[in-house]
Point group: C2
């Protein structure tokens, strides 16, 4: 583009470098282990609920959804054991995070987050003009809580962290919350259902805690876009204010109906999470047998390196066989591959190919 | 809320006054003429397409949607006769408008828009820190183009305007575009399909034009949340950059599939728009016979006042009978009611009640 045409843009937009999501390639016989989607379908009730919500001939689509998605909020509140006013919903957890940045982190002091983490955080900082300081992870990729003892406008931590899969204990989270009692600490729990302990249990104790979750991973609903935040009511109110200044109706009728059905089927949720964890432990063992070093994972993916083989070449070798994993060409982690946990059949194909490569 | 708890909020959020959408009341035998939804269902193909997109047992929901919604973009581009790079999509036109404000209107000079228009515009200004000047409509509620001859950072005009229903001609739009060749002029065409001429035909001529549309009104898909912007590629690129810094996946799989089906059924679209216009002309005649004064409407609603009856009392009288219309308690328009066009049966009920009231 002729950069002269950028004169029409807001000056702040000329410097923006957007987030790049994992690719959705169109390859035959693709094995997609790059975006941490669930290998299992969602609860079968979701499909039924969506069809019912269409109404006769799809007629219910002509009406706006409930702008507050009250019925979905109620279903989630029940499942979490929280009052409804401690629940906030958005169009995927990325939108929830965006509103969190606006609601809490536009402060005079910088936001703190790990140097290796979800790479959308620095993008939000840029978009919303939030100063930030990246705090180095320890050498074992764990979060060094003591390093957060510095003046700040807030903290955000993914737990388990991405792309490392490493978990921070509730004890560590409490220390962060108590270190900065007048700043909001956000725990981004996109992957918490695969073996971690949720910080939701701390909400009543800490007026500065926000917990963020998604239905895209453990509930197999990446295609529907439902994200949640949990916090005391005075923090939820700030999020509602931002949301209602941005888009009154972020959740469509299909997402509301499908989401309710998912949260009402707790048995299916628990069963598929347990199966995912079993598959993960299986895959870790098989890859260790091939000489891979794997960080301790509490997520639906693993972060793995091989002492004798460069990650970029392994990723390329897998891709030649139609297997897509994620490689981050970034300092400290360029030796690693992030591999989404799949089914046993998918793992057999992955392992067979890795045996050829290492 | 104890205002001391606002100390956790970003300072800018403490002053935010959110947009308030038309209510979605839960009343038996409700006749809802307050949010400009379509009285007709969407194309029957929409329901089929959504069910197909669920996949076997809903399994396709486990996968993220295409972040660029390429297939929907292609369907809309075809229908509009535009190349795909002139199309931008969002989660309803409210989200598209929000991105427009960030992409183009964060300028040193103020944004201009009419004093009476969509009341979300000042909310976006507040949220994004955009200065604005409200330009008075003429006494007949038409847009006085010459009043926009002043230094500005951009212009946004709803056409037909809401809640007045009054149309600005393409000639008037050209004058705005030529008055400010280095500023972006946004024409918000939520209601253009009910008798107006779209400014999309001007896009090739004007590098500073953005046209915004929605599927919520003329395509009866308010429940799915699909908004569009059309412009030359250098303006779309700014919107994509903002969108990809905010949320990679704003359109879920159901919205993408349903939207494609709607845009592929042009015959149904044209037929229902024509029926809506016929119903509008009918309702206007019947209300004029009751003594109402009605602004010339090019929308799926009318803006009406009665010389002998206060609007607030008429709205109350209608509500007592389960009929909800919209009243704005604002300067210059507090005498008016905004009434959504319905079916003939709905109009018969409305007219019967108005006959009792006037």
């Amino acid at each position: 583009m002729n950069t002269d045409l950028q004169r029409f843009w807001s000056p702040s937009v000329r410097e923006l470098v957007p987030y790049v999501p994992g690719e959705q390639p169109k390859i035959n016989n693709l094995l997609k282990l790059n975006t941490n989607e669930s290998p299992f379908p969602p609860s079968p009730r979701v499909r039924e609920a969506i069809i019912a919500a269409l109404g006769q001939d799809g007629a219910d689509l002509r009406l706006y959804p409930d702008p507050d998605a009250t019925a979905l909020k109620a279903a989630i509140a029940t499942q979490q054991g929280l009052p409804m006013e401690q629940v906030f919903l958005g169009n995927g957890s990325d939108e929830v995070l965006a509103h969190i940045f606006v609601a809490f982190f536009k402060q005079a002091q910088p936001l703190l987050y790990p140097d290796i983490t979800y790479s959308f955080y620095p993008v939000y900082c840029q978009l919303f003009g939030v100063e930030c300081v990246q705090v180095p992870l320890a050498d074992d990729f764990s979060i060094d809580v003591s390093a957060y003892q510095q003046p700040c406008g807030g903290i955000i931590v993914a737990n388990p962290n991405a792309p490392t899969s490493v978990l921070l204990s509730l004890e560590g989270i409490k220390q962060l919350l108590e270190m900065h009692p007048d700043r909001v600490v956000v725990i981004d729990e996109a992957y918490i259902d695969f073996g971690g302990q949720s910080a939701v249990s701390l909400i009543d104790q800490y007026p500065n805690l926000v917990v963020c979750q998604t239905t895209s991973k453990s509930r197999a609903l990446a295609g529907l876009r439902i994200g949640m935040a949990f916090a005391q009511a005075h923090l939820i109110e700030a999020l509602e204010r931002v949301k209602n200044s941005f888009n009154s109706y972020p959740m469509d009728r299909m997402a509301i109906a499908g989401g309710i059905a998912s949260f009402e089927d707790q048995a299916y949720f628990e069963q598929t999470c347990a199966q995912l964890i079993a598959n993960r432990e299986d895959l870790v063992q098989q890859m260790q047998a091939l000489g891979f070093e794997i960080l301790p994972s509490a997520a639906n993916f693993i972060f793995a390196r091989h002492p004798q083989h460069a990650a970029v070449q392994l990723a390329q070798g897998l891709r030649e066989d139609g297997i897509i994993v994620r490689h981050f060409n970034k300092p400290r982690i360029s030796d690693y591959l992030r591999i989404t946990i799949g089914t046993s059949e998918q793992h057999a194909r992955l392992i067979a190919r890795l045996q050829q490569l290492v």
